[in-house]
């Protein structure tokens, strides 16, 4: 199953964030409760962790890039050989995540 | 002090003296303060500014022109009594809003501290400002930042018609400084030597880095609040104030001490008369501002 990693909309509509770092690379296994990436809003550093396991298959942004809430940051899949969608915003389940702002 | 008194009399002789707050009875405060300040010390005062401006060294002719709105004054008729300033002689400025100059004075003191000028800001304000929040905000920050600031309250007993006891809950005005740990003293504001000594101590303390000081200078306002305000105090009370005239008191003392002779006094009077007459001539000769000049320096 393909899941998309999305900048959490719970932060607010149209909030811009800056990607600070990935804790995982393409091909890595992401376990439940493991940190995936960190970004910053104008107010806080936000650590995004996985609440579902998966293989990180594709990262669309790198450190320093700007994103908005709702943007697709990457794709995860259950199997390494699952074909990825052609379009970045293709329909897919949204990966459940936790996010801690500090 | 005699110059201040005589100058104000000349002001009242002008065809249109305008809305003026006189210093009659409060001359020792203005003169005593200015005697204790160095030229570099910025002096800020309230709208009761005529005595303080003269004492600080604003030329009487220019001041008279300013007060009646002519172009020959230091502020070209745009300040008048309430906002007169002449930084070149150390009069940083009056501010006509009661309590308005207190926070500004804190800023002026901050600049002295930050720029290391070694100067002390002194703000003279009326007892009417003691109920104002700006005084308490200023006392707080001045104590917190140990600003080189002397807050001198000219307590003439009344804010227009309201007696101090009806306006301020604190039994003594010096109590207002106590919560902030600011040294405070009450001084006889009709004794010019006592004022100069107290201000000198406060200013030099502030200059030495010991932070702010609060002074209550007690005096009596011998005239109504302003030239446009009716006198509401009972005639007997006003009459009684004559006994607190700082000029008479000082004259008597100097005579008793053998410092002042009739000849010296007469000479002093003649000097003041001449200075005031010259001021009147200057103000009379001064031109009115070009109306278009109202748009300058906006």
């Amino acid at each position: 199953m393909i899941r998309k990693l999305v900048v959490p909309k719970e932060l607010g509509e149209g909030i811009e964030v800056r990607l600070l770092q990935w804790y995982k690379a393409e091909g890595d296994l992401v376990g439940v409760d493991e940190a995936i990436l960190e970004f910053e809003t104008d107010k806080a550093i936000v650590l995004v962790g996985a609440k579902q396991a998966g293989l990180l298959r594709k990262c669309f942004y790198g450190a320093g890039d700007w994103m908005q809430t709702g943007d697709v940051v990457g794709w995860l899949s259950d199997e390494l050989d699952e074909p990825l969608p052609a379009e970045r915003d293709a329909q897919a389940e949204v990966l459940l995540v936790s996010f801690d702002a500090t | 002090m005699v110059l201040l008194r005589s100058f104000e009399a000349a002001l009242l002789r002008q065809p249109k003296p305008g809305f003026q707050l006189l210093s009659r009875g409060e001359e020792a405060i203005a003169v005593g303060i200015c005697a204790a300040l160095q030229r570099k010390d910025p002096f800020l005062c309230s709208g009761r500014s005529i005595g303080p401006a003269l004492a600080r060294g604003v030329p009487p002719g220019g001041l008279l022109a300013e007060l009646i709105g002519k172009d020959g004054g230091p502020n070209r008729g745009r300040a008048g009594r309430a906002h007169v300033s002449m930084p070149s002689v150390g009069l940083f400025g009056a501010h006509g809003v009661v309590g308005g100059n207190l926070t500004v004075a804190a800023g002026v003191a901050l600049a002295q501290q930050q720029l290391g000028t070694g100067a002390v800001a002194l703000c003279l304000f009326g007892d009417g400002a003691c109920g104002s929040g700006t005084l308490h905000e200023t006392l707080n920050i001045a104590a917190l930042w140990r600003l080189p600031l002397v807050l001198a309250c000219d307590n003439n007993g009344y804010a227009v018609s309201t007696a101090v006891r009806d306006a301020i809950a604190a039994p003594r005005l010096t109590d207002l400084a106590a919560p902030f740990g600011i040294p405070a003293s009450a001084v006889d504001g009709t004794d010019v030597d006592a004022v100069a000594a107290a201000v000198g101590e406060a200013v030099e303390g502030a200059r030495a880095g010991r932070g702010p000081w609060f002074l209550e200078l007690q005096c009596a306002r011998m005239a109504p609040h302003s030239t446009l305000t009716r006198e509401e105090r009972p005639p007997a009370e006003v009459e009684e104030l004559r006994g607190h005239d700082p000029i008479t008191l000082y004259e008597k003392r100097l005579r008793a001490e053998g410092i002042l002779s009739d000849a010296l006094w007469a000479g002093l009077m003649a000097e003041v008369d001449a200075e005031v007459a010259e001021a009147e001539r200057f103000a009379l000769a001064a031109v009115w501002p070009d109306p278009e000049a109202a748009m300058l320096d906006v």
Binding site: - | P42, G93, H95, V104, V108, L110, L144
Partner: protein, 335 residues
Amino acid sequence: MSRLFFREALCRAMAEEMERDSRVILMGQDIAAHGGSYAETRGLFERFGPARVRNTPVAEAVTVGLAAGAAAAGLRPLAFITYLDFLMLGLDALVNYAAKLRFKSAGQLTSPMVVKATAGAKGQGPTHAQSLEPWLMNVPGLTVLAPSTAGDAYGMLKTALRAPGPVVFIDHKKLFPRGGSVPDTEELVPVGSAAIRREGKHLTIVAHSYMSVLALEAATALAAEGIEAEVIDLRSLAPIDWETLTTSARRTGHALFVEEGQVVCGVGAELAFGLRERLSSLRVARLGAKRAPVAPSPVLESFIVPDAKDIEQSARDLLLANVKNGTHRTGKEET
């Protein structure tokens, strides 16, 4: 160009000006180790020390007075007012002292201070959300600036910190979460210059601060209907860039003025009148908050304060000429 958060652009401007001019000092609530209510002074306390980055008590009267007096006596203070609403407590020193000082001293004294205050509705309710710019525009001697982009925040704050007289620099809570391009080399935005954010021929939409952002959104939506709106970001509310406004309005013949605050004696009222004095034929409309205090409930707040859809509708109304007698208060409901 670098992309920075709005607050980072402000911070860079302050840092550069403090580096350039030792007279620049900062004063305000929570600006020292805390780094500012909007994180806009982060790092400055550590870099410039407690004498130049000063926390103040919750005492706006003395904060503004300190800045006014310190400016008159040789410093270049920047005073922070967390919410523009609270500037009311410091208006005497700003309006009666600083704004009049050059005039009343006949040019002997000036007060080159900056007050930075944050306006705008974002859920904080009646006394933490107002847009009071017109009060300040009304005062002779005050310069009033209100950027809407990170780049302008940088360039305009630098300008403010070098300006000769008191400047009120108004930012907006909803601008802080936004990023924007900021020039890598020093660039100042002159006082009194509006910016054309989008060109169009059918009508001119004039806005400032966060309403400029919404006006651009509205213009994009209107373009899909074939309505080409020119969007002018006022940037400087006092003085006003009449030339840019007049040139645009003459071309389009229609001007819509958008502000977040009250329209009564508002920015739009002044601009509409000023343009009508300059142009013989111009259809005008204004859009602003409904005649109520700003409520904290999101439902109430969004009803009171204009949004992009309101701007679109006002633009359509103006062009459809359902405007009687040339002026018209548009919005969701007539008042």
